[in-house]
């Protein structure tokens, strides 16, 4: 048995649905290309994908070498360390033994090419503690 319905708002709903689907697709496509994951050196070495990631860790003391426009240093999470090559000027507060987050990708030869370097300060940086890392707002 058919229930009579008012026909008028139908096109509005159709339009709204099209808009919602269109925006949903736009959002998903954009997210797929632009999301950058935070990784530790251990994770990067294990996954060894060439996607852009943000690599966080400590700058190993004694590994920083500046050569013209390129700086190289090792970033460690305590288990694994990775050689990072960064172009351009680094932040003035970039120090050995302190935390840094670099954005870039792993090159086929195993070095990490960074196009952005950010520094975390000892008095503000709290290394993620195992077990609490997946608890935002906690």
């Amino acid at each position: 048995m058919k229930v009579p319905r008012p026909r008028k708002p139908r096109p509005v709903f159709v339009l709204a649905a099209i808009l919602a689907i269109g925006i949903g697709l736009l959002v998903m496509a954009a997210l797929r290309d632009t999301v950058v994951y935070y990784r530790t050196p251990t994770e990067v070495v294990q996954a060894s994908s060439e996607r852009t990631v943000r690599l966080g860790g400590q700058v190993m003391p004694g590994t920083v070498l500046r050569d013209g426009g390129v700086t190289q240093f090792r970033l460690t999470d305590g288990h694994t360390s990775l050689l990072v090559l960064a172009r351009g000027a680094l932040p003035d507060t970039f120090r050995e033994g302190q935390g840094a987050v670099v954005e870039g990708a792993l090159a086929p030869d195993g070095t990490f090419l960074a196009h952005q370097v950010a520094v975390k300060h000892s008095n503000e940086y709290r290394p993620p503690v195992a077990g609490t890392a997946s608890e935002p707002g906690g």
């Binding site: 808009l19 925006i23 999301v35 426009g69 935002p136």
Partner: protein
């Protein structure tokens, strides 16, 4: 001493605001104890004033026994920045939030007069509930008055970025006032759902509060962008950072709310939309505050976590639940949407724009929340880059701009807004196309940029065509706001298309070139100041061999916080801003890493923003005049009394 006074003030405020909520509910239900209820609200305001006064006193007198002062005060900090450090960190900023919230509530109560209307009573009660939460938050989770244990001799001072510029005194309070003022329309919206009353009894007052808050919020956002550009020195004005998004989200939905509640539109049955949008706007304010204040969004900017998170999240969920529940339960009492049934009408254009603005907000919210959601679901920490927003929000914003250009050509005063629309549209489209042709001919910008220029020109031409028509006389504040928005759009597009940037490591005597400008590094000097070390790079600017000025960007190192800030030097001229920052200086003061940018048309953004704020103020004044003119006619007392709130 200060710790006791402050904590007691917060407790008294908590008690007063709980009493305020319950008393106003009783006023709304049984019409009893109005004077008492009013006194409870004023008492909460007094408590907030005392709490803020105490922390300011402790900051100024360097009372390091107070935890907040020990963490954010310092003997070396100038008085002005000592005063502004009230809102320089989390705990203090919640006190400022409380002060503004209770002040707004007192204003609302005062405007209600002796016999406020039923929606007004419920609205005050709902605002009281929010105030009680914030007092509880300040006391239990973010108490700045805790005693600091061993009293230090000196403190580190506020975050260096927050003592570089006097705008610190205006920008955060403006933004907060805009944020907090939106609680009143939220209260009215929920009140309307509770009472099911006619919209004329509450919508005008709610709209005026929304308009006032929107003006402050707009000013706050523009000032924030300017600050980001002129003080923070990373070279841009908008980074789609969670903090920035948090201020943009309520602005988008508030803008949509202001459009569906235009006085002339009221007969069209958009009450449901108004209620939903006012509700959403304040929920976004809460969500934004939660995201940015609790450290929930993992980003390079903040790794610190705060105990405030769970409590705040609980409140956001509670408010959302109550709003959605009320909307589902009582929403059918609101007058149903009765569109004229035609696709092209001022009403459908307003509605369409509201839908698009909400879509932009949804897209921005998705990008902001994605890291949080993905971490909850998969345990992976992630970040969403600015690219995401450029690819999703920007095209949608262009659609908003285009629809805005069409909607403004239809006078909503008259019965048939579409008459003569064709010819006006033709003129405006020609204006847009002409600009596209001109810009495309002059250079080779991207398709998106070309489109943005064209749509902006379409809007501006449209404003020019209808500005002097009698049917649009009352729309002039809106048209002016559209002008400002179009100017901002041109500024953003042009400055991102035509900017040139060069970064280089230079020795003294060398120079770098960008956008036809040559900057020669003539010297570097270092100085020790009271609270910082300063390194200044002196540059001489030349264009075509002709010297036209000098700039001295600085690097400030704050040893108390082991933090460096780069202070840009900017020279504005007709050909754009010459913008120089120094990112590092070597130990012997002979080399410096410099960033030289030539940014044309950035000024248009600040100018356009100022025009939008001015337009908002004109709309507020125009509303007053209209009410004064109507004053002769008999009208329901509550509306007129509530009307004084604006």
């Amino acid at each position: 001493m200060n710790t006791t006074v402050g904590s007691v003030a917060l407790l008294v405020g908590l008690g007063a605001s709980l009493a305020w909520t319950m008393l106003w509910v009783s006023v709304a239900l049984w019409d009893k104890m109005i004077p008492m209820a009013r006194r409870a609200t004023y008492a909460a305001l007094t408590a907030a004033v005392v709490a803020c006064g105490t922390i300011e006193w402790a900051l100024i007198t360097h009372d390091f026994s107070v935890s907040y002062v020990a963490e954010n005060g310092g003997r070396h900090v100038p008085l002005y920045f000592t005063v502004t450090s009230l809102w320089g960190a989390l705990d203090g900023s919640i006190l400022l939030w409380l002060l503004i919230l209770t002040a707004a509530a007192a204003l609302l109560v005062h405007a209600g007069g002796r016999q406020p209307g039923p929606e007004h009573r419920w609205a005050v009660a709902i605002v009281g509930g929010v105030a009680a939460f914030f007092f509880a938050l300040a006391y239990f989770a973010a108490n700045p008055f805790e005693s600091s244990g061993a009293v230090p001799a000196d403190g580190p001072g506020p975050n260096p970025l927050l003592r570089e510029h006097p705008a610190m005194g205006i920008h955060p309070p403006l933004l907060y006032a805009g944020y907090v003022g939106l609680v009143v329309p939220f209260g009215f919206a929920l009140a309307a759902l509770v009472t099911g009353g006619a919209e004329r009894d509450w919508l005008p007052a709610a709209r005026r509060w929304a308009l006032g808050s929107w003006i402050l919020l707009t000013a706050g956002i523009v000032l924030g962008a300017w600050w980001s550009y002129a003080v923070l020195g990373w070279g841009g004005y908008w980074a789609w950072d969670p903090v920035e998004n948090a201020s943009l989200l309520p602005w988008l939905t508030a803008t949509a709310a202001l459009h569906v509640t235009l006085v002339r539109n009221r007969k069209s049955g958009f009450t449901g939309w108004a209620v939903a949008l006012f509700g959403t706007t304040f929920l976004l304010v809460l969500l934004g505050t939660f995201l940015t204040r609790s450290g929930a969004v993992a980003s390079v900017h903040s790794f610190t976590q705060s105990p405030l998170g769970p409590m705040f999240l609980g409140f956001v969920v509670l408010c959302t639940g109550v709003s959605v529940g009320l909307l589902l339960w009582r929403g059918d009492r609101l007058s149903p949407a009765s569109t004229s049934g035609r696709w092209l009408s001022p009403q459908s254009a307003f509605l369409g724009n509201a839908v698009l603005l909400v879509a932009v907000a949804a897209v921005v919210l998705t990008g902001t929340l994605y890291p949080l959601i993905s971490e909850l679901l998969s345990g992976q920490r992630s970040g969403v880059g600015a690219d995401y927003f450029d690819r999703t929000a920007v095209p949608l914003l262009l659609a908003v701009l285009a629809l805005m250009g069409v909607a403004q050509l239809m006078p909503s005063d008259t019965r048939d807004g579409t008459r003569g629309l064709g010819s006006r549209l033709l003129v405006a489209v020609c204006g847009g196309l002409a600009v596209i042709a001109l810009v495309g001919f002059a250079g080779r910008p991207t398709v998106l940029a070309l489109l943005a220029f064209g749509v902006s020109a379409f809007v501006l031409t449209g404003v020019a065509t209808v500005w002097f028509s009698a049917a649009h006389r009352r729309s002039r504040p809106g048209l002016l706001a559209h002008t400002g928005i179009a100017v901002v759009a041109i500024g953003i597009t042009a400055s991102s298309c035509y900017a040139t940037v060069v970064t280089q490591d230079l020795a003294v005597g060398q120079s770098l070139h960008a956008g036809g400008v040559t900057a020669e590094l003539v010297g570097i000097d270092r100085r020790a100041e009271a609270d910082r070390m300063t390194a200044t790079a002196h540059l001489e600017l030349r264009r075509g061999g002709q010297q036209f000025g000098s700039l001295a960007p600085q690097l400030h190192y704050f040893s108390a916080r082991d933090m460096t800030t780069a202070v840009p030097a900017i020279r504005s001229g007709p050909a754009g801003d010459v913008y120089v920052t120094v990112t590092s200086v070597d130990e012997n003061g002979q080399r410096a890493a410099l960033r030289l940018a030539v940014n044309p048309f950035v000024d248009l953004i600040w100018f356009g923003g100022a025009v939008v704020v001015l337009a908002g103020l004109l709309a507020l004044l125009a509303g007053r005049d209209a009410r004064a003119a109507r004053g002769a006619e008999p009208s329901p007392a509550p509306v007129e009394l509530a009307g004084k709130a604006g």
